[in-house]
C-alpha cells in the first residue's frame, strides 16, 4: 500500500539557526542535490537513516532533534 511519509522535520528552522545555512550549502555538505534537501524539508522524501545521521551531525544535534515521527 502506497502512503505519504509521516516523518516531519525541523531542518528549515535549524538552517536559520545555523547562520542561515542555504539549502545548496547543506546539500553540498551532505553530498546530495539541492532538490533532495528541498524534498526532505517539504516532507516529500524520507531520507535514509545514514543521511538522517549526517543531517543531525551537520547541526550538531541528535536525530530526534531534527526528525519527528507522530505517535
Amino acid at each position: 500500500m502506497v502512503r505519504a511519509t509521516r516523518v516531519t522535520n525541523s531542518i528549515r528552522a535549524m538552517r536559520a539557526e545555523h547562520g542561515d545555512l542555504t539549502q545548496a550549502e547543506l546539500a553540498e555538505r551532505l553530498g546530495v542535490t539541492r532538490q533532495t534537501v528541498i524534498a526532505i524539508e517539504q516532507g516529500k522524501y524520507s531520507p535514509t537513516l545514514e543521511m538522517a545521521f549526517q543531517i543531525a551531525r551537520v547541526f550538531g544535534v541528535s536525530i530526534d532533534d531534527v526528525f519527528n515521527y507522530p505517535e
Binding site: G31, Q35, T36
Partner: protein
C-alpha cells in the same frame, strides 16, 4: 530540476517520439499494402537504435548546457529510479506473457514483434511517469 529528473524527461520524450514515428510509418505501409508484407523489422531496429542514439545526444547536450549539475545523482535519484522501474516492470511481464500466448497460437511474427515493442514502450512510459510523479509529489512510503 535535478539531472536525474531531466534524464527522465529526456527518456520519456525520446521514447514517445520514436515510437510515434515508428507507428506512423508502419501504419502508412500497412495502408498501402498489407501487414504481411510490411518491412517492420528494419523499421523497428531503426526506431530502437534512433531512440538510444537520440537519448545519448540530448543528454550530452543538456549536460553541456548545465555542466555543474551533470552526473549529480544521489540516493534519492537511485530510489526514484528503482521505484519507476518496479512500477513499469509489470507491463513487461504482461507483454511477455501475451507474446508467449501469441507464439503458442502461431500468430505471425509481425504481431508478436510489435506486441513486444509496444510492451517495452508502454513499460518505459509508465516507468517515466512514475519517476516524474515521485520527483514532483514525493516518493511513496510502503
Amino acid at each position: 530540476m535535478s539531472s536525474g529528473q531531466k534524464g527522465v524527461w529526456i527518456e520519456l520524450a525520446v521514447a514517445i517520439a520514436t515510437y510515434v514515428v515508428y507507428a506512423i510509418v508502419v501504419l502508412g505501409e500497412v495502408g498501402r499494402s498489407s501487414w504481411a508484407t510490411v518491412p517492420y523489422a528494419p523499421l523497428m531496429l531503426w526506431a530502437i537504435g534512433a531512440s538510444v542514439v537520440a537519448t545519448v545526444i540530448v543528454r550530452t547536450v543538456v549536460a553541456a548546457i548545465a555542466p555543474k549539475d551533470a552526473d549529480k545523482r544521489d540516493v534519492r535519484d537511485k530510489q526514484i529510479y528503482r521505484f519507476g522501474e518496479y512500477t513499469g516492470h509489470w507491463v513487461l511481464v504482461a507483454g511477455a506473457i501475451a507474446a508467449l500466448l501469441l507464439a503458442v497460437i502461431k500468430v505471425d511474427y509481425f504481431w508478436i514483434a510489435n506486441e513486444i515493442y509496444l510492451a517495452f514502450f508502454v513499460s518505459s512510459v509508465l516507468a517515466a511517469v512514475a519517476k516524474l510523479s515521485a520527483y514532483g509529489r514525493g516518493l511513496p512510503a510502503w
